[in-house]
């Protein structure tokens, strides 16, 4: 909301405060100052002057040398503007003037010619943005008049009023707050809660109030024989200073009253009404053409102001076009009412129609000021637009009681604020300054009457908040309590995740964080087979679905980096995925995804182009992850690899699914212009973590040396390594303790070994816990294993 300092100053004298001090005052009262604009000049040293004559500057093409009458005599001014002629009146800043922004005017020479001041543009005086030339003033203005008499200076604050403080949405409301904070008294001649106009219950044919639940109070007053025209200058200037456009005197007055004291009003053209006012719910599908030129379709939840024939306003939101006040209007009906905030909010949101009026009603205005707002507007209309007003205010319904009394336990206040030294007197002073009335007080407790404009104060804690706001946090001591709370599974999961991250960083991987909302077209990049959760109201087709897998995001990350010229891709992401369950529910789980592509190491003088990673590189990264060091991983090809992948395999540890690994399909790889094959894996964090539970148990070190024997064998090319490993793992030979593959050889040309065969070599380790083995014992055990090997597998051992 824009607030004018000069307007505020009609309510209290703020001259002892500088603009920055006022800004701080508001800030620490909980009103955020989003902008400050200083307009016009305060100094008397900017005056109206007349340009008598001018000539071209002898040393500069773009400058003129002007002879200017400042009211006391002729001055020579060098000027760069071009938009003037002899005889024009302009603002002249005399030496010693300080313009907005701190620019000080001095006598001086410009390119060797004396200049005794500066003629100003509007922008230089803080008036608008026009810097194209001098501000040419009305020919009628008097030479020598201080410019600030012509255009009074002002400071406009752009304030963010929090939704709990609708009472601050007017100049009076802010003045009241500033008065409480500064002890500067309100000038006080205006108390809008008191009126001198008589009220009278409205007859049913004047105001028929059919919806007291959402409109507890409606008032109407008829003013006849008005003459609608442009508003006087003071009114136009007030509205313009806070960014409102003057329309006509009647509309301007209602806007002025709203910004002055918070009551939103509406004026109808009485002659366009077909009878009295009816306040009722709209009928389903009822339509109304509003003042903004749009036709709105209403529902029965919406409240309308109507005449006996049709709706003439969407209550509290916007008036109707047909009954609006125009220059032709002579008789008006002035509405002042109190509408239930939630109802106005619902209608405004549903229609996507917000106005200054709905903004105030949906936050809650002061019900005690409804009649006062009507009275102020009536007075202004009579004085500006003339006419005669009915001598009574027609009132339907009752002033709602929104506030009552609140009892404050002052010990509790001190305890919650952490200020044991805060005295009862201090508390009482603060609350009284804020307009609360003390009804009773004991040593530890006080009872307070809440003013009608502070409907936000309903509970003791609301009063404590007021005290905190006024004393400020500087008054509150800083206390530090460290409390020992036992950690839980979330803590352990976090620590494990950080260990994983560090391990991957150490392997040269970069951590990505991609958006959890992905596009439908990314879904085929999902690994792990889940279905994501679609959002009902996505912002764009790029972000429609909560990801069922992290891989789509990593592929997009790969694509972006490839576009930027990256060749070697090493990315991982650790985060949440969302899986739609068959019963319609969803499950969220944490996963780790890895994507690698390109050279195994960065290019360097050691190796200009290191060979590109293959799937075993990725498998190597996985098997060395924390949590997997004591786990044997068995990849198991899934029956139908998703279309965007090849080699898709589930990674299993016993019965436990750890995740999936795959190669990105070459066609998808070409899609993203990757120069090397792309490999991806997605792992379940909970499954990884199972492998890392508990402290490791020490195993006695072997006391005797082991012996090794190698075996080379030829097997069919399609015999998986896992089968051979499983065979060795199953051997019960007592001395045989370990086996490891150390060579795999194939020859696609078929020259060294048949194409459908491969040669593999293993080294087997033998050891006894009791003694140093003899060669002969080892040989015998080895031969027994080889014999079993040839029996169990289609292998030919080379002897």
């Amino acid at each position: 909301m824009q607030v004018s300092l000069s307007w505020l100053s009609t309510h209290l004298d703020l001259s002892s405060y500088t603009v920055p001090q006022l800004s701080d005052l508001l800030t620490f009262a909980g009103v955020e100052v989003e902008g400050i604009e200083e307009r016009g000049v305060t100094t008397d040293k900017v005056v109206v002057a007349q340009i008598e004559s001018f000539v071209q500057h002898p040393n500069a093409d773009k400058l003129s040398v002007c002879q200017v009458n400042d009211g006391t005599g002729i001055r020579q001014i060098v000027c760069g503007a071009k938009n003037f002629k002899a005889g024009d009146k302009v603002p002249l800043a005399l030496p010693g003037a300080v313009l907005p922004g701190g620019f000080a005017i001095k006598e001086g020479k410009l390119r060797g010619v004396d200049s005794m001041g500066m003629m100003c543009s509007g922008k230089e005086l803080g008036l608008g943005d026009d810097h194209s030339g001098l501000l040419i003033l009305d020919a009628e203005t008097t030479i020598g008049t201080p410019f600030n008499q012509l255009v009074p200076s002002d400071v406009v604050f752009d304030l963010e009023i929090t939704p709990n403080r609708p009472d601050l949405l007017s100049h009076l409301g802010l003045a009241r707050e500033l008065s409480a904070l500064t002890d500067i008294p309100l000038k006080g001649q205006r108390d809008y809660a008191k009126t001198s106009t008589k009220s009278k219950s409205a007859a049913d044919d004047q105001v028929a109030l059919r919806a007291t639940d959402v409109c507890p109070l409606y008032t109407a007053r008829i003013i006849k024989d008005v003459k609608v025209g442009p508003s006087p200058e003071w009114l136009r200037r007030r509205l313009e200073s806070i960014g409102l456009r003057p329309i006509n005197s009647i509309v301007d007055i209602t806007n002025f009253v709203m910004m002055e004291m918070g009551q939103s009003l509406h004026c109808f053209d009485l002659d366009k009404l077909h009878g009295g006012i009816v306040v009722r719910n709209a009928s389903e599908g009822e339509q109304m053409l509003a003042l903004d030129g749009q036709t709105y379709t209403l529902l029965t939840d919406d409240l309308v102001i109507a005449d006996p024939k049709r709706a003439i306003a969407i209550a509290g939101v916007m008036g109707g076009e047909e009954t609006g006040v125009t220059e032709a209007t002579t008789n008006v009906l002035l509405e002042a009412a109190w509408f239930t905030p939630s109802n106005i909010r619902r209608t405004s949101r549903r229609l996507g129609l917000s106005s200054d009026s709905s903004y105030r009603f949906e936050r809650g205005i002061d019900p005690q000021q409804v009649a006062g707002g009507s009275e102020l507007a009536t007075k202004l209309i009579l004085s500006i637009a003339g006419g005669t007003a009915e001598d009574v205010l027609h009132v339907a319904g009752e002033v709602p009681a929104l506030t009552g009394e609140v009892t404050l336990d002052e010990d509790r206040a001190r305890k919650l604020l952490g200020t044991p030294d805060l005295t009862g007197d201090e508390i009482h002073t603060i609350l009284e300054k804020l307009g609360l009335g003390k009804k009773a007080a004991t040593k530890h407790e006080s009872r307070w009457h809440i003013p009608s404009y502070r409907a936000d104060l309903q509970r003791p804690v609301d009063l404590i908040e007021e005290i905190a706001r006024v004393i400020g946090l500087d008054r509150v001591p800083s206390k530090m309590t460290a409390v020992a709370v036992p950690s839980d599974a979330t803590d352990r999961a976090y620590d494990f995740a950080m260990t994983l991250r560090q391990a991957l960083v150490n392997r040269g991987c970069f951590e990505a964080q991609t958006l959890r909302l992905i596009a439908d077209v990314q879904l085929p990049d999902t690994l792990g087979g889940g279905t994501g959760v679609a959002v009902k109201n996505p912002l764009s087709e790029d972000h429609t679905t909560l990801r069922p897998s992290i891989i789509p995001g990593l592929i997009a990350t790969a694509a972006l980096n490839i576009r930027q010229g990256a060749d070697r891709l090493r990315f991982f992401e650790l985060g949440r995925v969302f899986l739609k369950l068959p019963n319609g529910n969803s499950r969220e789980e944490e996963r780790l995804a890895i994507l690698i592509s390109g050279p195994v190491s960065p290019s360097s003088w050691h190796a200009r182009t290191p060979h590109a990673a293959d799937i075993h590189e990725l498998m190597g990264i996985i098997t060395n992850l924390p949590g997997l060091s004591r786990v044997s991983i068995e990849p198991k090809a899934v029956k139908e690899s998703p279309a965007n992948f090849l080699l898709t395999s589930e990674l299993r540890a016993g019965n436990r699914n750890l995740g999936w690994i795959a190669q990105l399909h070459p066609s998808r790889t070409r899609d993203i212009s990757a120069r090397h094959p792309v490999y991806v894996a997605e792992l379940l964090l909970s499954a990884l973590r199972q492998g890392s539970t508990g402290p490791a148990k020490f195993e006695e070190l072997p006391r005797f040396p082991g012996m090794t024997r190698d075996v080379a064998m030829e097997v069919p090319a399609d015999l998986p390594h896992a089968k051979v490993a499983a065979f060795f793992a199953s051997q019960k030979e007592p001395l045989f303790i370990a086996s490891e593959v150390f060579d795999v050889f194939t020859d696609p040309t078929g020259q060294k070994i048949a194409k459908d065969r491969k040669s593999i070599a293993w080294t087997l380790t033998y050891r006894s816990p009791e003694k140093t083995l003899e060669s002969a014992e080892v040989d015998a055990a080895h031969q027994r294993i080889l014999a079993a090997l040839e029996k169990a597998l289609p292998a030919t051992v080379r002897r």
């Binding site: 404590i464 905190a468 706001r469 036992p486 950690s487 970069f510 959890r516 909302l517």
Partner: protein
């Protein structure tokens, strides 16, 4: 004999000096000191030396043998030293190191989050979490947000067809934690993603990262909130950082504050930068939690607490002078590399 020994000694030293490797040196040793070596042969002549000369010749013989043995030993050592030196000949230590796999980096958001978590853990906070797909109850109702509050609008909040929503703040974890609590105190922090229906631009993301904190006990005061958060932000931004609390409004805390820290941007004057929101837990939140639990563990008459929330993306941008928030989700490796440890 004495003169023979002298010339033998001279010959041996010359031979040692001439030896170019260990094998040649071994030949010298065999030739002089071996079973058939010249020194051995001469020493066998000792028995023929007259008695009165035996002492002198014996001493000489010993001297020759020791000299040759020592000569061989020191030559052996010199040869090995030369070999060892040769092993590092031509190595240019100024060349760049071999990169092996190179170094990766954690995402700057992870690093900031971890810094915040480590700091708060030292103050006795533990971690908590909750679902990102939430119910209106946990995201709004229980947090004292009016039924027709604008934040609930479909224009601002993502909904699922079944009426659930994507949490708009991590404050929902406050409710989840209090619902599940067995006893007081509660002292948790909850880092996590939150969602708002904002177009993505230089300062907005539709999915962003927050860190929530909650401390609930029977005697928590505004002074605890102030002390804890001042300590926290001074750990993050430096021990002399100015921290201020501005009164504000949030439905779920009362009183509520926004926190500013005074920071210097390069080349500019220090200015106050809004960094977090906080406040004392509103009793209405305790009442809602009690209703959901079906007990009175969080008795609004006696239970007090503070809560705070901060945007991690914003914190990362401020700390690292990142100008466009989209860098945080694009994951350009040239960006990520800048945050390598």
């Amino acid at each position: 004999m004495l003169s023979q020994l002298d010339s033998l000694k001279t010959d041996a030293l010359a031979a040692i000096s001439a030896a170019q490797d260990e094998a040649a040196l071994e030949t010298v040793r065999v030739n002089f000191l071996g079973k058939k070596g010249s020194v051995t042969a001469l020493s066998q002549g000792m028995k023929d030396v007259p008695v009165d000369q035996k002492k002198e010749v014996g001493a000489k013989l010993n001297d020759v043998r020791t000299t040759i043995t020592d000569g061989i030993e020191s030559k052996k050592f010199a040869l090995q030293a030369a070999l060892d030196a040769k092993a590092v000949e031509g190595i240019d230590i100024t060349l760049p190191g071999r990169p092996s796999t190179g170094n990766g980096a954690m995402h700057p958001l992870t690093q900031i989050r971890d810094l915040a978590i480590r700091t708060l853990r030292r103050l006795g906070f533990i971690l908590a979490e909750g679902p990102e797909i939430e119910t209106e109850f946990h995201c709004f109702d229980a947090l004292n947000t009016p039924a027709d509050h604008p934040a609930r609008n479909e224009k601002d909040t993502f909904y699922l067809p079944d009426g659930r929503l994507l949490r708009t703040h991590t404050s929902s974890v406050q409710i989840r934690t209090m619902e599940a609590a067995k006893s007081l105190p509660i002292r948790i922090i909850a880092p996590g993603a939150a969602y708002r229906r904002d177009e993505i631009d230089a300062t907005h993301l539709s999915v962003f990262n927050q860190l929530e904190g909650l401390y609930v006990s029977n005697d928590v005061s505004l002074a605890d909130l102030k002390g804890t958060l001042e300590a926290f932000f001074r750990e993050i931004f430096g021990p002399n950082t100015a921290v201020r609390f501005r009164p504000h409004f949030f439905p779920f805390t009362e009183p509520s504050f926004e926190i500013d820290v005074k920071l210097e941007a390069t080349g500019k004057d220090a200015r106050w930068i809004e960094i977090a929101g906080c406040g004392m837990v509103d009793p209405a939140v305790f009442t809602a939690v009690n209703q959901s639990r079906g007990d009175n563990l969080f008795d609004p008459e006696t239970t007090t607490g503070f809560a705070f929330g901060l945007g991690l993306d914003r914190l990362a941008m401020i700390l690292h002078s990142i100008t466009d928030i989209r860098h945080l989700i694009e994951n350009d490796v040239r960006f990520l590399q800048q945050f390598a440890a």
